[in-house]
Each structure stands twice: as C-alpha cells, then as structure tokens.
C-alpha cells in the first residue's frame, strides 16, 4: 500500500513528511475535492486513501501505513450525525479512541496519528488541516528510526 522509500531518514534537513490519509467517500473526500476545485493550496505531503465510510477503516490499515513507512496517518470522516450509513463514524470513533491509546502506549504517539471530521462543505477546513498536520509532522521529524511498526525485513 505505502512504499515510501526513506531518502531522508536520519536527516531533518529537507524532510518532506509522508502522510497517509484514510478518508470516507461521502464527507472528507468530497471536502478534499472541494478544496481542489476551489483552488485552495495545501501541502502536497498527503496521500489520500478513499474508503466508503470511516466505519470501514480497520486499525490494520493504520498499521499497514506505518509498516510501509508513513511518517503520520490521518483519519477523517463525516461529522457525528452526518454519516451516510447513519452510525459508521460513531463505531469508528470508539475504535479510534482505544486504538490511538494502544498505539501511543507502544510508541506511536499523537504526533503520528491524527483524526478529524471534515464535511463535504469544508474545503477550507481540509486545506487548513493538511497544512497544519504537515507542519506538525515536519516538526516531529522523520519517523523512520523510531517507528516500531516499520517493515525492516526487505533491507
């Protein structure tokens, strides 16, 4: 899924964060689309993976992204009450609430994992979010060395 090659590992100079965003089809993806069609500039560091619903975002996806070398993961979907499938985002919220704590406890802290609600109308929020997350990850630096989930076998 993610095969980022780390050319920047070890040096923060010129570090370009690689951020994987798992977003739902109905809200955040549409929000990202709006940001694009509105010509809102935002950081090019995010790779968007579209899923039908945040309820479909299995914690394994997040792990896989970190395994592939993501410096951070963003998960985003519809605001509470707006889910296209009524309650997918409520289910997802519980899952994240625990999973983020588990990741933090095992060494992947909140500088590496972000959550948001972005609706189809919030193109501006999406652009600001990406810019903000990118800056935070840039400040945190490359995750390569400290990432406990990173695939190291093929080396």
């Amino acid at each position: 899924m993610v095969e980022a090659q780390s050319k920047t590992a070890g040096s923060t100079a010129g570090f370009q964060p690689r951020i994987v965003a798992f977003v739902c089809n109905w809200c955040t993806y549409a929000g990202a689309d709006l940001a694009g069609t509105s010509r809102l500039p935002y950081a090019p560091n995010v790779r968007i993976v579209k899923l039908p619903c945040t309820g479909r975002i299995d914690p394994l996806f997040i792990l896989k992204a970190f395994e592939g070398g993501a410096d951070a993961v963003l998960v985003s979907g519809c605001h509470p009450g707006d889910c296209h499938y009524t309650s997918g985002n409520y289910h997802a919220r519980r899952r994240w609430a625990l999973f983020r704590r588990l990741l933090d406890f095992t060494g992947i802290d909140d500088r590496r994992l972000y959550f948001s609600w972005v609706s189809a109308a919030e193109g501006r929020k999406f652009a600001d979010l990406i810019n903000d997350v990118t800056e935070k990850v840039r400040a945190a630096g490359p995750f390569e060395r400290a990432n406990p989930a990173r695939r190291r076998l093929c080396r």
């Binding site: 914690p59 394994l60 994240w96 625990l98 588990l102 095992t106 060494g107 992947i108 989930a149 695939r151």
Partner: protein
Amino acid sequence: MQMIDAIRADAAKVLQEGRAKLVIGYRARGGHRGPVFLSDPAGAAALVYDDACKQNLAVYLRKPEVRARMPVAVVAPPAVMRSLVLLAAEAQLKGPEVVVLAVGDGVYHGVLDLAGVEALLKEKYAGLAPSPDLLRRIEELAAMTPEQRAAFWTAEFAKCTRCYACRAACPGCYCSRCIVEKNMPQWISTAAAEHGNYAWNVIRAFHLAGRCTLCGACEAACPQGIPLMLLNGMLAEDVARQFGAKPGYDREAKPVIGSWNPDDDQGFIR
C-alpha cells in the same frame, strides 16, 4: 472441610447427578498446573487448586471434542467466571451448556449456573481490576517518552517466535480463522521479525479490547515471557475510564467495540 475437598466432592456430584458429562479442573504436574478432564466421579481426587493455577479453563469450551460432551463443569476463579459470562454475552456459550465450580478468594462458592455466576461476580467481585503492581508498571511505561516506549516494546516483541500460545490460551480468541492466518491480503506478516511481531501483538491486544477479563492466561502461556498484561491492563483501564465498561459481568452486555454512544468523547478529533 478444606476447599479442595469441597471442589472434589462437587465435581464427583455433578458427574453422578448428570448435571455435567465432563468436569474440567486443574491437576498438578510437579510445580506446573495443567487441566484435567474428568468424566468418571472416581477421578475427582486428581483435582487441585492453588495460586499456581494460571490457565483459563474456559478456553476449552471452544474445542469441538469438549463441545461434544456438554454440559461441562468448569473449575473457575473469578477471572474465568468473567470469561464464561463474556462467552455467553458473545453468543459463544448457552446457559445450559456449562455449570461452574466457583472458586473465590480463599473460599469455594459451590456449583453455580451462569446466572448464579453473574450474581456472584456482581455481589462479591465487582471490583476486579488490574493489580496495583500491574498499574504501577503501566504508569511507568506511560511516563516514558514515545521513543522509549517504542524501544521497550521492540525489545519485548523481538522475543516473540509467533507460536501463538497467547492466542491459544485465551478464551476470547475463538475465531475459527485468525486475522494473522488470512493472507489475501496478508495484513500481518507471519515472519517472527520486527514489523510482524509489532502488528501481531498490537492487533491481538486490540481484538480483545473491551473483551479481556484480565485473567492473565496469555502472559502465563507466553514461553518468552513477554509482558502482554501491560497491553491488556492498559486497554482495560481505558475501556473502564472512557466507556464505563467492564466486560464479563453481564450476559446481556453489548460489546464495547461494536456499540456506541452519541456522547462518546471526541476530544482527540478535530
């Protein structure tokens, strides 16, 4: 009468009376404790019970060989009783399939059905929680930097040979095909190396989030001594704190993950 004598007498009695076709209890093998399966009342003398009995015998209720001999009586301390209630809540166990030889803190509560177990747990063992020592170790770890925690777990998970004893020892791990055995795609690397071991151990713990009854069988089973209870304990604390849930006390309880509340905290979501 000593506690063990009462357990032995009841084990023989449930077999004699036909309340159970099989009794699963503990036996001694030197310093080790393992399970014993009795169908003959005369065998009840083999039963032992002490602090070394770390295995969660509820795990056997998923074995087809055991299921073929239901109803089954299980010698169960409170954590195992919680597992039985959890299995009932998750539709893995029906009330008439099991009777419980309920062992408490230095007392024996006699033969109970699942309703009796639930009442006993609520009355006498409502306060079951991670031990103070476990909580202290969890706090120590939480106080470290993320890099230190990553290093700690990388070193611990490096010991993992992927024998899956943790999974095998856990009554909650009853999936007929575990996620680690699914390979289209292969979500979790099967190699006993860094990334596969991290993913396996983290996902194992997460699949038990809101379900783990803190019996400790997985950690006791781990041949490599990986402190799995740190993960389980941390999640159990969080489940209690965030959702006010304690699995294994209520046969009607909804699963923590799999249910939701509109008022769940979302302070971490922007």
